[in-house]
Subunit: 361 residues, 2 copies
C-alpha cells in the first residue's frame, strides 16, 4: 500500500519480496525475490538506495546495524528492537513511566503461577495476529507456552472496555504527526474493525493516548509510522498493549479518511520530508477487514454487488490468495452518521468475505 | 495514474509503453515496450486480457476494429473516432443538436476567407495541447495550416467568459456518473489550472453542461471517462470545444477532491462495474499543473519547501524528465475558502516549476 502514494509522489521504490507474485511484487516494478534474513541479499538490494524501511519487524537486528553503515535505516535498529522483542518493550516502557499491564518475564509454569492466574503469556519475539499468545487460566494451560523454548512474557489479564490505537508518524528531524485515536475491534486476536475517531472517547483520555504515543515515538527514536495499541480499562485508564513500527492495520482508514494517509506519511517520514496533516476528512470513517470464510468466491465477484449497493465506498484488495481468516483486503466507508457508516462498511466486507450471498439479501 | 486505483482494487494491469522508463512503465509491473500503431504488437499485448483501454486517442481505428474480435475495446472504435477526428466530431455533434462554434471543413485559404476571418483553424487529427491549432486573422496567417496537407477544420473565434469542462463516466451497461462542472484555465493552449466546482456558474448553465455531456457520452456510445471541454460565451451560452475519451487533465482534481477519482471510475467503467460517486468531498478543490521553467531544479527539491509550508496539499509527480512547458506533475488543494485554496495550490505548483526560489520567499 506504500506503492500508491509512492507512485503519486514520483518516489521510486525497490522491493525485496519473499516470493514472486506476493502483493507488493504485483505493484512495484523494481523488485527482487530473496530472504530478508540473509545479509548479503539485504546489502545487494539496498545498493544505490537512499533509505531502507520495512513492512514487518522481523529483519534481524544485527543485519540492520550492518546496513546502517551504507544507508539510512528507518526505523533504526535501536528503535525497532522494541517492536521486535516484547520483553525489551515492556522494560523500556516501564522505565519511561508509560502505563502498561503488570508484567514479568517467566521461565517456568511455577513462575507463571507465582505471577498470578489468570494471565496472558506471550513469546517475546515473532508473534502476530494472535499467534504466540496464550490466555492462561490454570497451570496446565501455561505449559504450552514453554514448549517452543522461547522466552515468555507474562502479563495481567486486563479488564478492558475496548481497545484503542494511537498512530503517529515521526521524521528523523523530530517532527511528529498524530492521527486521531481510533477504536479497534479484535476477533480471535485479529483486528476486524476500526472506527475513527474512537466514539465517545473522553477528551482527557484522547489527549493521554496521544501523549503516550508521542512519548514512545520520541523516546525510542522511531522514524516512520508507529502504532500504539492500548486498552481502555473498565476503570477508565489506558494501558499500552502492543507497539508496531510501520503502517498498521489500525491506520488503514487513513487512506480514505485522513488528509494524508499513514502510507504517505510513512514515506515522508523515512525520507525526512515534512509530514502531511493527519486530521480526518469526515466525521466518521470505518475500516472493516475482509476475512474470507471457507469456500468464499473470488473477491472480484464482490465488486458488482458491493459497488452497486454503495457508490461511496472504497475497497482495497491485496491480490492475495484466499484462505479462511486471512486478511485479504479491507473496506473504508465514511460519513456523518456512525451507525450508517458502520453498516455500510460491514455489509460490503461481509459480502467480499463470502458471508453473504444472493439468498441473504 | 490508473495504476493507483488499480493497485488499491487489486485489478491487474498490463501496459504497452512507448519506451522503457516512461511514467506508466515506472509503476506498472507487467509492461512491454512497443508501437501502438502496429497491429501485431496490439494483438500480442492484449492476449489474455479482458478489456483494453487507452490513455490517448491515437491508436488507428482499423486496429481497434481488429482487436474487437478478441476482447472488449473500451471506448470502442465507433465512439473513439469522434475524439480522433475533429471534423467527424463537429458533424456528429451538429446532428445531435449539441451547441458548437460555427464550423466548416476548409480546403484552401480562399475557403477560409469565405468562412470568415478572424477564425480558428485546426487539423482534424493528431493535434493536442495547442499543437495543430492556429488563430488566424488574415489570409496570410491561414496558409500555414495547409502546409501539412492534412484536412483542416475552420471554427468561429468564440468570445468567451471562460472555459468549462464536464467530465462523465459511462459503463457499457449504460450507467453514467457526472462530475461537478469545473472551470479550466488554458495558457498557450495548455491547461494550467482547474477549479471545482466552476465558481459562480449559473444553475441552469451547470445543468445544461451536464446535459450536453450526458447526451454526447450516450449518443456516441462512449465507455469510460469522457471530458467535454466547453466555452461559456460572453453572452451566456455554452459551446462544445473539444472531446476527450479518457481520464483528462481537467479531472485530475478528482484524485483528492471527489469521492471517486476519474481514474477509478474509468477502470470501473471499462470493466462494466458499478460506478463510484462523483461528488466533491470539499467545498473547493483546485488543481494546478506543474510546468517547469527553463533551468528548473529537479522536482524532488520542491518537496521540502512545499510540504512544510502546506501540510494539507497533495502533490502528484509523473516521473518525467523536465522540459520547459511540459506537464510533469500537478498539485491538488482543497478547502472552504476559494481564494486561499487557489493561493496554496498556485504557490506549490510555482515552487515545483522553478518559478520561485529562496530569494522570492
Amino acid at each position: 500500500m506504500l506503492a500508491e502514494p509512492a507512485a503519486a509522489m514520483g518516489i521510486p521504490l525497490r522491493l525485496l519480496a519473499e516470493a514472486e507474485g506476493v502483493s507488493a511484487a504485483q505493484v512495484i516494478v523494481d523488485h527482487q525475490v530473496g530472504d530478508y534474513k540473509d545479509l548479503a541479499t539485504l546489502q545487494h538490494i539496498t545498493e544505490g538506495c537512499a533509505v531502507v524501511t520495512f513492512d514487518h519487524e522481523h529483519v534481524p537486528t544485527e543485519h540492520l546495524h550492518a546496513l546502517e553503515s551504507k544507508l539510512a535505516v528507518r526505523p533504526g535498529p535501536e528503535a525497532l528492537v522494541y517492536a521486535q522483542d516484547k520483553g525489551l518493550m515492556r522494560r523500556r516502557l516501564g522505565e519511561l513511566g508509560v502505563p502498561c499491564p503488570r508484567n514479568a518475564m517467566v521461565a517456568s509454569v511455577d513462575e507463571v503461577v507465582a505471577f498470578g492466574l489468570p494471565c496472558v503469556l506471550k513469546v517475546t519475539r515473532g508473534g502476530y495476529d494472535g499467534k504466540g499468545v496464550w490466555f492462561v487460566r490454570d497451570a496446565a494451560d501455561a505449559a504450552e507456552a514453554f514448549e517452543l523454548g522461547a522466552p515468555v512474557l507474562a502479563e495481567e489479564l486486563v479488564e478492558f472496555r475496548r481497545e484503542l490505537s494511537a498512530i503517529v508518524a515521526r521524521s528523523p528531524s523530530g517532527q511528529v504527526a498524530a492521527y486521531p485515536v481510533v477504536q479497534t475491534t479484535q476477533t480471535d486476536g485479529i483486528c476486524t474493525e476500526v472506527v475513527a475517531p474512537a466514539p465517545d472517547l473522553a477528551d482527557d483520555l484522547a489527549r493521554e493516548a496521544e501523549r503516550i504515543a508521542m512519548t514512545v515515538v520520541g523516546e525510542l527514536g522511531v522514524t516512520g509510522v508507529m502504532a500504539v495499541e492500548m486498552f481502555e480499562t473498565t476503570d477508565g485508564r489506558l494501558l499500552v498493549n502492543e507497539l508496531a513500527m510501520r503502517p498498521h492495520n489500525t491506520g488503514h482508514w487513513t487512506q480514505d479518511g485522513a488528509i494524508t494517509s499513514q502510507f504517505e506519511n510513512h514515506l515522508r517520514a523515512v525520507l525526512d520530508l515534512p509530514l502531511g496533516a493527519p486530521q480526518a476528512r469526515a466525521a466518521w470513517t470505518v475500516m472493516v477487514n475482509i476475512l474470507p470464510v471457507d469456500g468464499a468466491a473470488p473477491l472480484y465477484a464482490g465488486y458488482r454487488h458491493a459497488l452497486a449497493r454503495d457508490p461511496r465506498l472504497r475497497v482495497h484488495l491485496y491480490g492475495k490468495e484466499l484462505r479462511p481468516g486471512r486478511k485479504v483486503g479491507h473496506v473504508n466507508a465514511w460519513g456523518t452518521d456512525l451507525d450508517e457508516t458502520l453498516e455500510r462498511a460491514r455489509h460490503a466486507a461481509a459480502w467480499f468475505a463470502g458471508e453473504l450471498g444472493d439468498e441473504s439479501e
